[in-house]
Point group: C2
Chain length 364, copies 2
């Protein structure tokens, strides 16, 4: 039974997923590994400047699904040559994670947190994971610098792990993420945004880091380049599906369930998949009505939006666009899972598949 | 004769400094080295996303003094074992800079640019280096993400140079810089800010990166740890002096000369050295008057400020606080130069001393 006060998708300690019995050994190992990631994360952010520590304490409250470190750890196990032997022996898999796996788990979570903190400034969001956002509590300035502090910390931690390739890949991915955000910003209020550009934005701003998490975990276990790239592809497909779902939740969800501000995308002029689908495929009359409604939103973004958005959602639903977006996400998850066919069947692989499925069924 | 359209302190190509004749060989080498740094900088920022490239083009206009890469290059020469031989032979010193020196020069400039772009968001500044700021032209959102893109690019470039120590040091310094900015924010509107905390803020937000530039340049030429640390100390002292001067220019300068928005510090509740000095040392009556004036500014920050600030400056001047701040900066430059005594006397050392002197005499 999900616990409403702990909004987590995968992190099993927080009791959101009903993990099948055969996956419990993986689950138990993850509890251990993620606790090590959290400890590493907290240690890295410690400073001798009290106001900085106070802000970082706030960040701890943002910690949610831990999806990205979970993928580092799971992909690290999935390719590890000793995993089958430990499973057969009934021994804990947690022993296979080195300091490099743990450090990289903290790095990807820190990069993710930095983008959350900066996104909340950009989105003028007030609620995140059921708490007030940094910007709404401490102002935009604190949020901008705190995000920079998190990025610097991630990079510093990353440079202290063994592999220089990891540091290069993290820098490269952070560039890709920022370019995706800039591309999204460039297309704000662009009512002719097409699907290809929408997917390009998602792939950059969200999927690149999820793919990186899978790749880093596999590489830290010594996987060959081809296998690393296959797992990255898995993560990218899963990541795009994840963001489509996120966009749907923003459109349809309730703040009390999701735990963050909703319907920000339309308010900020961001077109998402259902709307792109309706606009691209509706007949001229429906299309004209939808455009009028959106332009109307534009004029009084903050007030009277709920009724207008409800009407838009009804139109998109009638037109099959909500189902289309859900089906697109489901197809991406299927494709992602098919990438995993290169791995031997094992509880670890099944746990990863299970996590991928959860991406499109989650309600928050 | 300074050229008003090219506001540069040290970068000799732009003709601001009258370089003494004996230093011309160093000057010529720097022209060559800084052009390589610029090319590396531009190459690193190139992407396949046109709106990102457009924003990066804007960044090129921010390029000013190139103080930090200049220090990487000069300190790289100052400790290089082959420098004296090349000087004696009349050969160009530019041959001594490896790709590592050049890459690190681009890295420190990129970190600096990222903080400029984010600072302008925080300061709500509209003018920077005689052009409109990114935030005023493209909005705060573009400026926040562009800063992130620059930081990510710096980290990526830094991970591609040989030394892992450099990547660690850049991450560490970026953390220090952000913590300095957060400390400054914490003390906004704090009318009892003391000198020790003011210097701590300056050392972190400004001097750490200038010190790092000197250290990286020396380390890339193979200097021993002690010498690297001595040059870092030189850079930190020079950096604190640089920021004291910057704060004075904000208080006293004219936008048309400095090329950026002025008197932002008082408007944003930032106390700087002259005011801290007056408040700490004035008798209760003067102190009371000054506090009343500052609190008055606070109420109508944008309007009627000029006359009130003029009056404050007059009080600080009468009280000797402007002179005190200038003398403090000059003392720091002297101490910085005395650190250089470990280097053999050479045109390179004299060029570095010359650059340090320019920090406290510059008018922009």
């Amino acid at each position: 039974m999900p616990n409403a006060s702990t909004p987590c998708l995968i992190y099993p300690m927080r009791g959101v997923l009903d993990v099948p019995e055969t996956l419990i050994p993986v689950n138990e190992a993850l509890l251990d590994g993620l606790a090590r990631v959290e400890a590493c994360f907290d240690r890295q952010l410690e400073t001798d400047i009290p106001p900085v520590n106070d802000l970082c304490k706030h960040i701890e409250r943002y910690r949610g699904k831990m999806l990205r470190p979970t993928l580092v750890l799971l992909c690290g196990l999935a390719v590890h040559p000793d995993t089958p032997r430990l499973i057969d022996a009934g021994a804990s898999l947690a022993a296979l994670w080195t300091d490099e796996h743990i450090g990289l788990g903290a790095v990807v979570e820190m990069v993710h947190m930095a983008t959350l903190v900066h996104d909340d400034v950009l989105d003028e969001a007030e609620v995140r994971r059921r708490g007030r956002t940094v910007n709404s509590l401490h102002g935009n300035e604190a949020a901008v610098i705190l995000g920079d502090y998190l990025l610097a910390s991630a990079y510093h931690l990353c440079s202290s792990v063994e592999s220089r390739d990891a540091a290069l890949a993290v820098g490269d991915t952070a560039m890709t993420m920022a370019s995706g955000e800039l591309l999204q910003l460039h297309h704000r209020d662009d009512l002719s945004l097409d699907e290809a550009t929408y997917f390009e934005i998602l792939d950059r701003k969200t999927a690149a880091l999820i793919g990186l998490s899978c790749a880093l975990g596999a590489a830290a276990s010594g996987a060959e380049r081809d296998l690393v790239e296959t797992l990255r592809r898995f993560g990218r497909d899963m990541g795009v599906a994840f963001q489509i779902r996120d966009d749907l939740l923003d459109l349809m969800g309730e703040e009390s369930v999701i735990g963050k501000s909703v319907r920000r995308d339309l308010a900020k002029g961001k077109l998402t998949l259902p709307l792109i689908h309706t606009l691209a495929n509706a007949d001229p009359r429906v299309r004209g009505d939808v455009l009028d409604t959106i332009r109307g939103l534009d004029e009084n973004r903050s007030q009277g939006m709920d009724a207008a958005v409800d009407q838009l959602v009804a139109t998109m639903r009638d037109f099959g666009s909500i189902e289309y977006a859900k089906a697109t996400a489901a197809d991406l998850v299927s494709r992602a899972k098919s990438s995993l066919a290169v791995l031997p069947d094992s509880p670890v692989r099944r746990f990863i598949e299970f996590s991928a499925d959860a991406v499109v069924t989650r309600r928050f």
